[in-house]
Subunit: 152 residues, 2 copies
């Protein structure tokens, strides 16, 4: 019970992290490459945690905690780079990102929140906690990709 | 004097951050995109701090501290993705990275150390400290790019 309470607190703290300072980009392609880079880094470390959560890789508490640090911070970065005028070029971003701004905001805020919960669980050093958090992930990555990312 | 001492301590703490847990990549191009993504994110936030340090952007202590968080963490990421077999494809990595491993390691460790010093200065909330750290940067980014990155 105490564990669940502290997990919830940790998750709440993670979610409360404010959005990071925005970066200004000189060219639209700089913003596109930046957000793709952040999503790529987040995806790699998220995948590493997922491999541990699903038994595809051995659980390593130290590594899990570090992957958690990365996803918690980097998950806050890509969104401010979806600025107007960055919908063309080498990007799979759908026009809906700019047409349905409120929906997109809600979707990425949900993703940051869910990533925060998984990160908090990973930092407890318990594989069971990580498994539980991973299992209760409601698919916010996929949801956002389905709605806002073009197929390859 | 006390400020310099605490800055030095903060920098030492930053430098002492251990390398992050390595990510495994299924394909060489995944490693290439990951390290490029991390370097791109680091470069963007490093540039944002540089703009403040050189008066091209107004100093914002909160934003500076957040940029510092990003560069401190993300600067540790790219290096483990320079694995054997990732020297071909869409990469500007020079063969020297794998031919002169010790020299490359020294160069990226120096870069992480210098980024750590700038991040520590940025987190003090003082533009003068940031300027001083920026000014005493010995060019470890450029050094590494000159030696280990192909021209466009």
């Amino acid at each position: 019970m105490r564990l669940i309470a502290s997990l919830t607190l940790a998750a709440a703290a993670a979610v409360a992290v404010p959005a990071l300072a925005q970066v200004s980009f000189q060219k639209p392609e700089d913003a596109i490459k930046y957000r793709q880079g952040a999503l790529r880094v987040m995806g790699a470390h998220y995948g590493a945690l997922g491999a541990m959560a699903t038994g595809k890789a051995p659980f390593d508490a130290t590594a899990a905690s570090r992957h958690a640090d990365v996803i918690q911070l980097v998950s806050t970065l890509p969104w401010s780079a979806f600025t107007p005028g960055t919908d063309k070029g080498e990007t799979r971003a759908k026009p809906e990102i700019w047409q349905e701004e409120a929906k997109f905001k809600q979707a990425h805020e949900r993703a940051v929140s869910e990533v925060g919960k998984i990160a908090a669980a990973a930092k407890t050093g318990s594989l069971d906690n990580l498994k539980a958090a991973w299992g209760s992930n409601s698919g916010s990555c996929k949801n956002c990709h389905d709605n806002f990312r073009k197929d390859q």
